[in-house]
Every structure is written in structure tokens, then in C-alpha cells.
């Protein structure tokens, strides 16, 4: 790796750390500025007086605000995100357990949505001016406009409750155990549970890559080098795929980062519709039951995830486009 590219990576990591720090600070302030007793954020009222004293001491809640802040930062960085009131377990452990489910659902959906979206977008561009295109666009816009949880509800009602093709919640049927994560991922039971949330999510996410790809294809097909390719006697299919689509794909790749960013929002909702035990569902449960440490921890990890995925998406883009050099960023 060249010196400038490693410098760029370091820059981005620093940016990531900065954003995380800001978010953590905001969280800290929210809890302290919240109406009511700030201690509530850390201490379950059901604890005994002695337990409460111990916790106050551990988190330095009797210390000045700025010292609390430093303790908070230190604890967060070392992975100690507190204790969940509701589950009576360390927040970091709960988060760690649910993280894979969220990753599988979110990353899987985004990747599939992009694959389907770009292919469909290129196809619609190719069919420009036909009735098929008009119909396709209407369907895509409708899906973009529809609330994703509502689509999920309809799919649930039809395919799960009515037709009984798919289960209605969770990641596993009762009593099923897996030897490892890998075994779980390929088991039919897991995939059946994954199917509906995945389809819902993909239907929601595909709109942006599709419309973007279509728009880019229409632009690229007017470009000089595409006309030249035709003059060179190359077959149309080759021109569309290896030249037009390849170039049209670049801005779609930048959208990848954007979509990953807002996919985590959609993920929260999809997880709740299908009772999919991921970070999003954890967050909502935590907030509903006033389990502040868990809520704070879940949110922090979700934010970190978003930023990390953003960074990865940027890396993919720079690899795809030979004209972008690290130095220019």
C-alpha cells in the first residue's frame, strides 16, 4: 500500500473515532440532562441501598460532572457499557449476542438489494421508452414510498399466518440448537426464519440502487465511448454489460455507503415486525422498559456499526474507480 493510501485510512479512522466520541458525548449529556433523577440512568430503583452505593461509587456518580464524563469515556472504550436492568446481565454481552443477527439481516439485505437493484436498473434502462419501463418505475417508486414495516406486515399476514409457508418470528423454531454460527447460517430452519424479514428489507432497499443505476445507465449510454464501442462492431450485450454498466456502477457504489447508513434505521423497524432478535429490537425493548444502560449501549454499537460500514463502503469504491487516488481525498 502506498504511503498516501495508508495515510488516508488513518485519516478516516480518526474521523470515525471523532464521530463516535461526539455520539458518546451526546448520549452522556442526554442522560445527565434528562428530566428527573440522573442516577436513574445507572441504578435500578430496585437495587438495595448498598448495591446502589456500590454502583454510585463504581461509576463515580457522586463526583463532579467532568470526572463522570471521563469515567464514562474510559468505561465505554474498554467495553464496559454497564449492566442491564431488565436482563441483569452486562450490556456488552447482550449486545454481542444480538450483533450477528443484525449483521446478517442488514448486510445480507443491503448486498442482495444492490445486486437485484443494479441488475433491474440496468434492465429498465435498456427497456427505455417501453410500457414495461413505466410499469417497473411505478412499482419501484411505490415500494420506496411504502413504510417498510407495513410491507412486512402484509407479507407476514399473507405468507406466514395465511399460507403458513414461513414462521412468523424469531431466528429459530423452539428447541432448535446449532453447533456453531456457520451451521446456523446454512440450516434450513434459520433460512426460513430469515426469508420474510430479508425479503421485506430488500424490497425496501432496492429502490435507491435501482433508480440510481437506471439513471446512470441512461447517461452513460449517451457517452462518447459507448458510441465508439458500437462503432468498433462490439456486440450490444457486451457494450451494455462491460462498458455501460461498469461505468454506471461507480456512482451506485458511492450510494452503497449511503444506503448502509440508513439501512440500520430500517433494520430497527424490520426486526420489530418480525421479532428478529437483533440490535434494533434490543434497543426498542430497552427504551420501552426504561433499561437505560442497555439502550445507551445498543445505540452506541449501532452508531459504531453504521460508521464502520460506511468506511468499508468507501474503501470498496476507491478500489473500483481507478481515477480516484487516495491523495485527492
Amino acid at each position: 500500500m502506498t504511503r498516501s493510501s495508508s495515510r488516508w485510512i488513518v485519516q478516516r479512522l480518526a474521523q470515525l473515532a471523532l464521530v463516535l466520541w461526539v455520539i458518546a458525548t451526546i448520549l452522556f449529556l442526554i442522560f445527565r440532562l434528562m428530566p428527573g433523577n440522573p442516577l436513574v440512568a445507572f441504578i435500578d430503583p430496585n437495587f438495595t441501598a448498598e448495591q446502589q452505593r456500590a454502583l454510585i461509587h463504581q461509576f463515580g456518580l457522586d463526583l463532579p460532572l467532568w470526572q463522570q464524563y471521563l469515567i464514562f469515556l474510559k468505561e465505554s472504550v474498554t467495553g464496559n457499557l454497564g449492566q442491564s436492568f431488565f436482563y441483569k446481565a452486562p450490556v456488552s454481552q447482550l449486545v454481542w449476542e444480538t450483533l450477528p443477527n443484525t449483521l446478517i439481516l442488514t448486510l445480507g439485505s443491503v448486498i442482495i438489494a444492490f445486486l437485484i437493484g443494479t441488475v433491474a436498473g440496468a434492465f429498465l434502462a435498456w427497456k427505455r421508452g417501453t410500457a414495461a419501463e413505466a410499469a417497473g418505475i411505478s412499482v419501484v417508486v411505490a415500494l420506496r414510498a411504502a413504510p417498510e414495516f407495513w410491507v412486512g406486515m402484509i407479507l407476514l399476514a399473507v405468507f406466514s399466518f395465511s399460507l403458513r409457508w414461513f414462521p412468523s418470528s424469531g431466528t429459530a423454531s423452539p428447541g432448535v440448537h446449532y453447533a456453531s454460527l456457520g451451521a446456523q447460517l446454512v440450516s434450513v430452519d434459520f433460512l426460513r426464519h430469515l426469508a420474510l424479514p430479508l425479503v421485506t428489507f430488500v424490497l425496501y432497499l432496492q429502490g435507491l440502487p435501482l433508480l440510481l443505476m437506471r439513471s446512470n445507465m441512461l447517461d452513460v449510454m449517451e457517452e462518447e465511448f459507448v458510441v465508439m464501442a458500437r462503432m468498433k462492431g462490439l456486440p450490444e450485450a457486451r457494450i451494455l454489460l462491460r462498458h455501460a454498466a461498469r461505468n454506471a456502477l461507480l456512482p451506485v457504489a458511492t450510494a452503497f455507503a449511503l444506503v448502509i447508513g440508513y439501512s440500520l434505521s430500517g433494520d430497527v423497524v424490520v426486526e420489530n415486525v418480525f421479532s428478529w432478535p437483533g440490535l434494533g429490537r434490543l434497543l426498542v425493548k430497552a427504551v420501552s422498559s426504561k433499561d437505560y444502560p442497555l439502550a445507551q449501549g445498543a445505540f452506541l454499537v449501532i452508531a459504531a456499526l453504521a460508521i464502520l460500514m460506511n468506511l468499508l463502503a468507501d474503501l470498496v469504491y476507491t478500489w473500483l474507480d481507478p481515477r480516484v487516488s487516495y491523495a485527492k481525498r
Partner: protein
Amino acid sequence: MTPLLALEDLRVEYSTRRGVRRAVDGVTLDVLPGEILGLVGESGCGKTTLGRAIIRVLPRNARITGGRMWFEGTDLAALSEPAMRAIRWRKIAMVPQASMDSLDPVYRLGDQFLEVLVVSGGLGRSAARERALDLCDLVGLDRRRLQSFPHELSGGMRQRAAIAMALALRPPLLLADEPVTALDVVVQHHILRRLRALTAELGVSVVLITHDISVIAQTCARMAVMYAGMIVEVGSTIDVFAAPRHPYTMGLENSFPNLVRPQDTLIPIEGSPPDLIAPPPGCRFAPRCPFAVDRCTTEVPALRELAPGRWAACHRANEAAELRVQSKDARRWQVAAR
């Protein structure tokens, strides 16, 4: 000599929102084997459309609406698309304007050469690689440039690459559309010289399309002048320059700086080309012509052979000698604009 390409009353139209634009309106022209034919005209005269029509890659809203294009015994205008695709690049290739955009930005130069050689040319991969290297040598391009991406090449390099690409399958006919316009004069000179050498060496015919008559003067033995979708003059370059027979050509010469025959001032042709959606009746140049008479505004002058190989489309072509003298007077041209 039988021509390599014979255009017969070719017509190309664009459908636009405002109406049908007759961009090429009855062009008859021959291209002889092994020659470099210059085609000169101002922007919008239809010369680029003509080039695109020959290779049959026109924009979506353009169509060939009449005439024939005889090439190696077949009428290209009537050919089916698959048959035409077989001809493209193998028999007729184009060197585009020296722009960044004619090469795919995400593929290396070498890969784009290989693509043309393997897919269009049917060569095996190793034969293609050999040929690619030969082509670089042919145009004077550093072989290492095959590893570069288009945006890493200078304008001159790109143009050499474009010429190499066009010659890749050794087509008998090359269409060069403003091949050196975007380059500086020194590079222009080198590229044109190389082009001349190549055509002599390979026996390729070239149609050199440009708005710059100095390029024609330097490179072409024979030239044609195009105006408003029609050919107005054809002849050997020397004769057309020394003794133009069409007022437009006379005007063109006046408006270009000339190192050999010094002029005190450049005389531009006043006015602008006609709207090709509703062209004027009669001669298209009449509104700007200092020598127009009544007949010019009603009757379209036909392209007539005034001497062997010497054609002009002007009702007053017989008086050309006299008109030439008058065309040196700047005031004539100012009066002309109506």
C-alpha cells in the same frame, strides 16, 4: 479507378421537437482507394453526421432517409444491422475527435486494444497481444502506455492510441472526424505526418473531416467542401485552394490566416448557416453569398463536373475566375449579409 466508397444522393434526417432537420441533404461523393480525402465545412454543416452515417452509428433520433452508400459492392444504407456490425471496424473504422471520452475510463488501454482485436477481429489472445504492440510502434506510441488508463494519457498520446485502435483490424476505409482539432499545433503536425505515412504504407483510404482547412492543406491530396448538408465543391486540394469555384470556398480562404499568401486582414463570412429544419429555397448559401443572383434563390444548383475531377455546385461557376478577384474585396462580403 473504381471508388472504394461511392455516396449517391445520401440523405440523413434528425427528428427534433421543432421539426425534421435535414442534416445531410443529397450528398454525392466518391472516395478512391488509397487516398486521403479532406471534407471541410463549418460546425453544423453535417460533416460529422455524414461520417456517422457511413459507419451507420447515428443518434437515436437520426435516420438515413434516402440515397445509397456503395462499398465493396454492397449498399451500406440498405444493410441489416448484423451485417453492418460485421463490416464495422473490419472494413470501416473511425478515428474520433481528440477527446478524453472516446475511451472507456475504467479499462486500461491494452485491454481495450485486446477487446477490439479479439472480439471484433477474431484474433487469438496471444496474436492480439502481438498486434497491440505492433500498433503502438506503428503510431509512435510508447508500448508501456498499454498499461495506462485513458486519463493518464496526454492528448497527443490518446490520439495516437485512437489511430492505432482504428487501424487495428487493417480496414480499407478510415473516417477521421476532427482528429487533431483539440491538440496543439506541434502535436497536430506530428500526428498528421504520421497519418500520411501510415496511409501510404498500408494503402488505407481516409476521409479526413475537419473545419480547419489548414489541416486539409497539409494532409489531403483531394478535398470536398460541405455547406448546410450539401457538397458544394470537390477537387484536388491544390486546385481548390488556388482556384476555388464556389463562393463559399472563396470565403473560407479569406477567413483563414495564410503564411504563404499574406493578407492584410481576414475577411469573415457574415451571417450564419441556414436553419436546416426550414432551409431556404434555392442555393443554401445564397443569403450570405456576395454574388447571388435571382436564380440562386429559386433553383438549387446541382453539383456539376466542370473539369475532370473538378466539381462545384454554383450557378455562376463559369465566372469563377472573375468572382475570385471580387472576393478579395472585404466590402463585398459585408454587403452580402441579409
